[in-house]
Symmetry: C2
Subunit: 285 residues, 2 copies
């Protein structure tokens, strides 16, 4: 496994891979890899010849007062995990590589970026789009892998790729969960054991919402109310949002949408946790 | 010469060129080609194997009340000019190809885009950056060619390419001028003969400024004053800006800059005309 810390170095490796007509898969991460990331790497391994994992704790997607400084860093463990998963190259640039002095360009997906998580994290998705555009231009992957757990992020990146005509396929892979349903996240590391147990309420709430829809409920407000009851019933927490939206527009769901996105963001102790599920409102399951 | 009206078609052509290991040069234009464009094409012909000219009157770089609707269109003549210049492919997409419904992504180069022309054309450079990013992603050129006449545009695109790590070389080619010094521009077509004669005052003013600097003047305000006198002496016109700035930051020039950018935007009759020259304040010339 190669480890590149500079743009020139990773470009040289990719040049060799492409000359050998290998297809390239990219798994972009902030580090602190968990089973969710590993499932993306596994999918990339299956579908592409040369798998690159980027590990870069991107400062521009963190707002003032957010957890940039305490975000978990486990460089040695991350590299071991990549090595064991047969990753071909890890791209681990420093901040000065990615944002040299004078840097002033931003990619914005208007309309989608202000909703849900964007409402409480202004500028977050601009930071995400910009770093992802940079990684795409540096690595030039054929396919890039993102998790469904960050549904809004995946949607916004798909929109960016489509709007800017980037010749890249985006694959969104299923959320990986702890036994109690808690979606895997690097931020779960901040939780105490009792908080972690309690955090299962996000998924339980989503399942409750799905069950209501399955039994015929078509009023999004009723689904939201039931979901909130599950979260509130689990113990002290601060709900950022509970939303039932169209998965393409993120506008409030109507019966015109075939699929509803049930999405939730809750602060439990030190962590802001998010989760979501898609429910096909026409289908039987 | 191939003519492509869709993204898929031009991508197919480029795929063939790249398989044959040809380097690709791109000359992006709004159409209504003139000798300035032809000099870019000629340069691309010299330096790259496969030359693409894009002709797209990009609506997102025109503001409300600007000249989008009356911008000259000369499709037949443009294609003849490209054919005669041995262009390999012309990419002529429709607006619905470039901006399909739901489009919502923008590339912004903050700081540089609000100055000079950006001050009187808000959003203009966002439109330019976004369409150029799209063209770069569609065509994937090795080198792209821009004119020094649009100095701020060239600077902003170089900044975007650097900041987003686009693997593309930007070549900025010298301004081509009419015999009276008027910089070639599609917008010169709006001018009457007397206005066209008078419009020579922009370049005469710039040369006056350069001469002052050569003779030792180091106060930008004095250069600006002399330049304005030349423009105002030529007849009725409305000065948008006359500026002496650092060519990298577009901040007011100081003696710390090795080179000064003298830039001017003037409305003469129906046309807003721009021009500029670079003056090396250290050098002898």
């Amino acid at each position: 496994m190669e480890i590149s810390r500079t743009i020139n170095e990773i470009r040289r490796l990719l040049g060799t891979a492409r000359q050998a007509k290998q297809t390239v898969g990219l798994v972009p991460t902030l580090g602190a890899l968990h089973d969710g990331h590993m499932s993306l790497i596994e999918q990339a391994r299956k579908e592409t010849d040369y798998v690159v994992v980027s590990i870069f704790l991107n400062p521009t997607q963190f707002g003032a007062g957010e957890d940039l400084n305490k975000y978990p860093k486990r460089q040695r463990q991350d590299l071991d995990l990549c090595q064991n998963a047969e990753v071909d190259a890890v791209f681990m640039p420093g901040t000065e590589q990615m944002y040299p002095e004078g840097y002033c360009t931003t990619v914005t997906v208007k309309g989608l970026s202000e909703k849900l998580c964007g409402a409480s994290r202004p500028g977050h998705f601009d930071g995400v789009c910009t770093i992802v555009a940079k990684l795409f231009n540096i690595i030039g992957p054929d396919v890039a892998y993102f998790g469904q757990k960050d549904a809004q992020q995946a949607l916004i990146i798909q929109r960016m790729v489509q709007d800017l005509d980037m010749p890249i396929e985006i694959r969104v892979c299923p959320t990986v969960r702890e036994p109690n349903g808690l979606a895997m996240s690097s931020r779960n590391a901040y939780l105490s054991e009792s908080q972690r147990n309690r955090a299962g309420c996000l998924y339980q709430g989503l399942l409750k919402g799905k069950q209501l829809i399955r039994s015929g409920e078509r009023n999004p407000e009723h689904v939201i109310k039931a979901l909130k009851e599950v979260v509130n019933g689990a113990g002290p927490s601060e709900i950022d949002y509970v939303a039932v939206v169209d998965p393409q527009t993120l506008e409030p769901a109507t019966q015109a949408s075939r699929t509803w996105l049930l999405a939730v963001a809750v602060r439990i102790g030190p962590s802001r946790l998010i989760d979501n599920i898609l429910v096909d409102i026409a289908g039987p399951e």
